[in-house]
C-alpha cells in the first residue's frame, strides 16, 4: 500500500538531496520521511472515519441507550467500545463523567468508558498501524477495550458511590432533568467539511510530537546496539512488566511521541507485551487526568481507580508476553 511512498522517500533523499543510500544519515533520513508521511496519512484516514462514526453516534445516544435497555453485563463492553471511538480530550472527561452518572448510568459502566477513552484513541491507532502493522494494532485495540470492560466491571463491584465528591452526589440526587436527545438534522454533505476540519486540527495538534517521536526513534535505531535491552528488560523476568507499567503511569505523553520510541525498544529485544503495557501506562493514566478527576471524586476513589487500572495493565502485559 505504501510502495509509492518508499519510492518517493528514496528519490527525495538519494537523488534530490544526494545523500548516499549506504550512509548512516541517508538511511536514517529515508526512514524519517517514510515513517512520518505514512503515519500522517494513516492518522488522517482514521480520524476521518472516526469523525463520520461520531457524528452519527454521539455520546448522548449511548447514554440513552444504556439507560433504556437491560444488557446483562454487555453495558460494560458497549461503554468501553464507545470510549474507544470517542475522541479523547482530557478536558471533557469531567463533563462526560457527570453526564453519565446524572443519566443514571452505573458508576462501573462510567468507569469502563473512562478507562478506554484515553487508552484507545485515533492517534494511538494510527501510530500502531504505522509502526507495528495490522496484527499488533488489532491486539492493542481489542485488549484496550477488554481492559476497560473488565476494569469497569471490577470497579462496579465495589461500593464506590460514597467516595464521589459532594457536588456529584447532589447532582445524582436530583437526577435527570431532561433526558431526551435531539438528533442533528444535517445531511452527510453538510457534515463533511467539519469532519475534515477536525481531522486537520487533530493532525496539526500532534504533528510536532510525531516528528520528534519518529526522529528520536530513528536516532535510537542507529545508536542503540542490537539486543541491548535483552540484558535487563527482555530476558523474560517477570518483574519487568510491573516495573515498566509503574514507571509509565506518572509519565504523561502523547501516543504520537511514545510509539516510535517503543518500536525501537521492541526492535532491540524488549518483548511486545512489555512494550504495550508501558504504552498503556503512559497514555491511559496520568497525573493531569487525576487532577481533573479530583473535582468529581475523592482522592481515595482516584487511588482505587488508578490502582485497578494499573493492575489490569500489568496483567495484560503478562498475558501478551505469554501468547505473543
Amino acid at each position: 500500500m505504501f510502495d509509492w511512498l518508499q519510492h518517493f522517500a528514496d528519490w527525495l533523499i538519494y537523488s534530490v538531496c544526494g545523500i548516499g543510500a549506504n550512509t548512516h544519515l541517508g538511511t536514517a533520513l529515508n526512514f524519517f520521511i517514510y515513517d512520518t508521511i505514512k503515519i500522517l496519512i494513516l492518522l488522517f484516514i482514521i480520524v476521518f472515519i472516526m469523525g463520520i462514526v461520531n457524528t452519527y453516534l454521539p455520546i448522548e445516544r449511548l447514554k440513552n441507550y444504556l439507560n433504556k435497555n437491560k444488557l446483562y453485563g454487555l453495558e460494560y463492553l458497549f461503554s468501553s467500545i464507545f470510549g474507544a471511538i470517542t475522541p479523547f480530550c482530557s478536558c471533557s472527561s469531567v463533563p462526560l463523567f457527570i453526564g453519565f452518572v446524572q443519566g443514571g448510568i452505573p458508576l462501573g459502566v462510567t468507569f469502563a468508558f473512562l478507562i478506554t477513552s484515553p487508552l484507545v484513541n485515533e492517534v494511538a491507532i494510527a501510530m500502531f498501524l504505522g509502526m507495528f502493522g495490522v496484527k499488533a494494532t488489532l491486539i492493542y485495540v481489542s485488549s484496550g477495550i477488554m481492559l476497560g470492560t473488565l476494569g469497569g466491571w471490577i470497579l462496579g463491584k465495589f461500593n464506590l458511590e460514597p467516595l464521589l465528591s459532594d457536588w456529584v452526589k447532589n447532582i445524582m440526587a436530583q437526577k435527570n432533568q431532561q433526558d431526551y436527545y435531539q438528533e442533528e438534522k444535517r445531511t452527510f454533505k453538510q457534515r463533511i467539511p467539519e469532519i475534515t476540519q477536525n481531522a486537520w486540527d487533530i493532525i496539526k495538534g500532534v504533528l510536532i510530537y510525531i516528528i520528534i517521536g519518529v526522529a528520536i526513534g530513528g536516532a535510537m535505531h542507529g545508536y542503540v546496539p542490537e539486543n541491548f535491552f535483552n540484558k535487563f528488560l527482555g530476558g523474560g523476568q517477570w518483574w519487568t512488566v510491573p516495573l515498566a507499567v509503574i514507571l509509565a503511569v506518572p509519565m504523561y505523553a502523547n501516543a504520537a511521541g511514545v510509539v516510535p520510541i517503543i518500536q525501537v525498544f521492541v526492535a532491540k529485544g524488549v518483548p511486545l507485551g512489555t512494550a504495550i503495557a508501558f504504552m498503556m501506562g503512559t497514555v491511559g493514566l496520568s497525573l493531569p487526568e487525576a487532577t481533573l478527576l479530583k473535582k468529581v471524586m475523592s482522592l481515595k476513589l482516584i487511588a482505587i481507580f488508578f490502582g485497578v487500572v494499573t493492575l489490569a495493565i500489568i496483567f495484560s502485559g503478562f498475558l501478551f508476553n505469554m501468547i505473543l
Binding site: 454521539p58 447514554k63 478536558c91 463533563p95 446524572q102 457536588w167 495538534g205
Partner: protein, 78 residues
C-alpha cells in the same frame, strides 16, 4: 434586544476556537450580542452537556462538542 451568547468550555483548544469563530461572526456582521465564556465546570454542568465546547444562544443549547463554521454560527444568530 441583544442576544445572550454563552460559550461553555473549560478552556481547551477547541473551546478557544469556538470563541474565536463566534466573536468574528459578531463583529463582521454587527450583531447585537453579549458573549460570555463559562469556564467553571459546575456552571457548565447545569446545562447538561456532555461534550465541550457548547454554544448557548438565549439559554438554548445549539451546538455541542465541536467547533462550528462561521456560516453555521451566523445562521444561529440571525
Amino acid at each position: 434586544m441583544s442576544k445572550v451568547i454563552k460559550i461553555l468550555g473549560t478552556g481547551c483548544p477547541k473551546c478557544q476556537a469556538m470563541t474565536g469563530v463566534v466573536k468574528d461572526v459578531i463583529t463582521e456582521n454587527n450583531i447585537d450580542a453579549n458573549v460570555e465564556k463559562v469556564e467553571d465546570i459546575m456552571e457548565i454542568m447545569k446545562y447538561n452537556v456532555m461534550t465541550t465546547p457548547a454554544l448557548v444562544v438565549d439559554d438554548v443549547i445549539t451546538i455541542k462538542g465541536r467547533v462550528p463554521s462561521k456560516t453555521e454560527v451566523l445562521e444561529l444568530l440571525k
